[in-house]
């Protein structure tokens, strides 16, 4: 999680298969995978799953293959940004040292001098058949996302942006799971995330993560004879995908419990509501070795709530609105000791291990508000505003007798994005999107305020995407 570049690209595969996600992502809902959906007969034609499904020999499975490619050019206008420096100061009392967090202006002029060219390519395959225990579904999505950069020694280098924990291979396997009924095992979308991070192509401050997990979803369609659906999900997820540590203030021990994640959703033809929560175990080794502190383990926690609403404007304003549609998305998340669930840049570690081994959880929040307007059947535009905040503190430690020291660093940020996209021919879309980012850091050291540091910069991107 830490240090990973945010993915630029397509989100269709990412959000296509979460519970009730078909509502939001304009893809077939997971009817075939629903725990309680009416099961087609085993001999039924594959068309019952969708127009692109075909028979896989005599196996009884139906399959569907797809792939899409996005090529983009982008310009980051940031000359500098806020950099965080973590350090452990000498302590006369504890070998671990006193944790400190500084912030300063960091130049990125060299990294952002040239426009970037990037690609996001995905290929996926789904197989499904009915069994006595419900639908058996297998899905794999291979994804290569990255940018071509100009390193210092010249030339052109490909830099993957979806490597996971430094592993390009792990990033390549975007999703790979098997589902039987409501039980799903493999690399899959986290149950914490909402359907999308806003309607922008570039991510807003919202967490959408694919993670190795075991999950179970119970879903009920046509609630009380209506077109409404509800679902509840529970998952055990890979905690390493969420960890935000720097090896100085915070350093995770290699083994710990899986993250415990739950979600509930309600969907109707016009509304989708999502609530989720997560527990994230922390077992520290940044300072645990020094002092035998009894408090080198704790649980972080995160919660989210989101909603999406679709509207046909002629239903509101009458025929004058024409045949236009819109949809709103609003989502927020809070976290304590689990900053990785906020979907924000790496501006805070999950926790701070004090010199005596005690742990202090970092708190934070993020929120996204987004609107997408469909002007015609092929032309749409979007406007997204995101914000976040973190508060990271240490406990008071003695630099010397009667000389306590601690830090309290707060980062606040927001992001405004606007874009327009046109489908010039079936499956081929072109778009342009611009954004502006604001971020401010403030600090307090042993009760004395440091100076705030603010940065702001724009970014611009244009892309072409072909879906096959």
């Amino acid at each position: 999680m830490r240090g990973a570049k945010l993915l630029f690209g397509a989100i269709t595969a990412l959000c296509a298969l979460t519970p009730l996600a078909g509502y939001a992502a304009d893809v077939p809902a997971k009817t075939a995978a629903s725990a309680s959906a009416a099961a087609p007969e085993p001999t039924a034609d594959c068309g019952v799953y969708g127009s692109k499904f075909f028979k896989l020999g005599d196996s009884g499975f139906c399959g569907k293959a797809g792939y899409d490619v996005m090529v983009f050019g982008a310009k980051d206008f940031a000359q500098s940004d806020i950099g965080l420096i973590s350090q452990r100061l000498p302590s006369f009392e504890y070998a671990a040292g006193i944790p400190m967090l500084y912030y300063a202006d960091r130049s990125f002029a060299q990294q952002t001098y040239y426009p970037r060219l990037g690609v996001d390519a995905q290929a996926n395959f789904m197989a499904v058949r009915q069994t006595d225990f419900g639908a058996l579904v297998g899905f794999v999505n291979i994804r290569a996302a990255g940018e071509f950069e100009t390193p210092q020694y010249g030339g052109l280098a490909y830099e993957p942006s979806n490597a996971v924990n430094g592993s390009i291979l792990q990033g390549l396997v975007d999703q790979a799971w098997v589902r039987l009924g409501g039980l799903e095992v493999g690399v899959q979308p986290s149950m914490f995330g909402f359907a999308r991070w806003g309607y922008s192509i570039m991510p807003g401050y919202s967490s959408l993560v694919n993670t190795p997990a075991v999950s179970y979803t119970y879903r009920v369609d046509n609630v009380a004879g209506s077109n409404n659906s509800v679902s509840a999900s529970f998952a055990l997820e890979d905690p390493s995908r969420r960890e935000m540590d720097d090896g100085v203030l915070a350093s995770y021990a290699p083994t710990r419990a899986p993250d415990i994640v739950a979600q509930a959703r309600f969907g109707s033809p016009t509304v989708l509501v999502h609530v989720g929560g997560a527990l994230h175990q922390i077992r520290d080794e940044a300072a645990a070795d020094c002092c035998g502190s009894p408090e080198n383990s704790m649980w972080g926690e995160a919660a989210t709530i989101g909603g999406e609403y679709r509207v046909k404007w002629s239903d509101v304003f009458g025929p004058a609105a024409g045949d236009t549609y819109g949809r709103f998305l609003l989502q927020g998340a809070v976290a304590r000791g689990a900053i990785g669930y906020l979907g924000i840049p790496f501006f805070a570690t999950d926790y701070v291990a004090d010199a005596d081994g005690d742990l202090r959880a970092t708190t934070g929040y993020s929120a996204v508000a987004s609107y997408e307007h469909l002007w015609t059947t092929t032309l749409k535009s979007s406007l997204t505003y995101s914000l976040f905040g973190t508060s990271e503190t240490s406990g008071a430690e003695l630099l010397a007798p009667d000389e306590p020291m601690w830090f309290d660093v707060k980062i606040r940020g927001s992001l405004l994005q606007g874009g327009i996209e046109d489908m010039v021919q079936p499956g081929l879309t072109i778009g342009v999107e611009g954004g502006y980012t604001w971020t401010t850091a403030t600090g307090n050291y042993a009760g004395a305020s440091s100076a705030p540091l603010s940065v702001g910069f724009a970014n611009l991107a244009a892309y072409v995407r072909k879906v096959f």
């Binding site: 950099g83 040292g97 009667d402």
Partner: protein
């Protein structure tokens, strides 16, 4: 009788200190903190602090250790000096009715000096300086990628 060996020791220490690595550090924020822990090398460190409050914490474990702390504060000067060498010299001067420079631009710098690893953070009314020896410096960097 006891005074003579002490004076001799001081003279020897002062003589040997000439071969110790020298470094002069200056802080002028409202609130100044200096931590000196260069490890087991001989060092000769001068700290000059001017501010509302000044604090210097020093632990020198080299064969020859010398430190000169010059503090000028509005309200509080604190110096904690610990020297564990064959020859140790410490001079501490504390004066009052001075003030620091408020509103310093946020900045962080670090460098390897002949005495040890030196890091300095200045921001607003705060200055935090640390001089650490080999193997005892742990620093991380993070933030948004571009």
């Amino acid at each position: 009788m006891l005074r003579i060996p002490a004076v001799l020791g001081l003279l020897v220490g002062a003589s040997c200190a000439a071969s110790a690595q020298e470094l002069t550090l200056t802080q002028r924020a409202d609130h100044n903190y200096a931590l000196i822990a260069p490890g087991s090398v001989s060092t000769d460190v001068t700290i000059k602090q001017t501010g509302q409050t000044n604090a210097t914490m020093s632990v020198q474990t080299g064969p020859i250790n010398e430190i000169d702390v010059d503090q000028r504060a509005k309200s509080a000067n604190t110096a904690y000096v610990n020297q564990l060498g064959a020859a140790n010299v410490a001079t501490i001067t504390q004066q009052y009715d001075f003030g620091g420079v408020p509103g310093m631009t946020p900045g962080y710098s670090s460098q390897q000096t002949n005495v040890g690893f030196l890091s300095e953070f200045n921001s607003g009314g705060v200055s935090i300086l640390a001089l650490t020896g080999p193997g005892s410096t742990l620093i991380g960097n993070f933030g948004r990628t571009h």
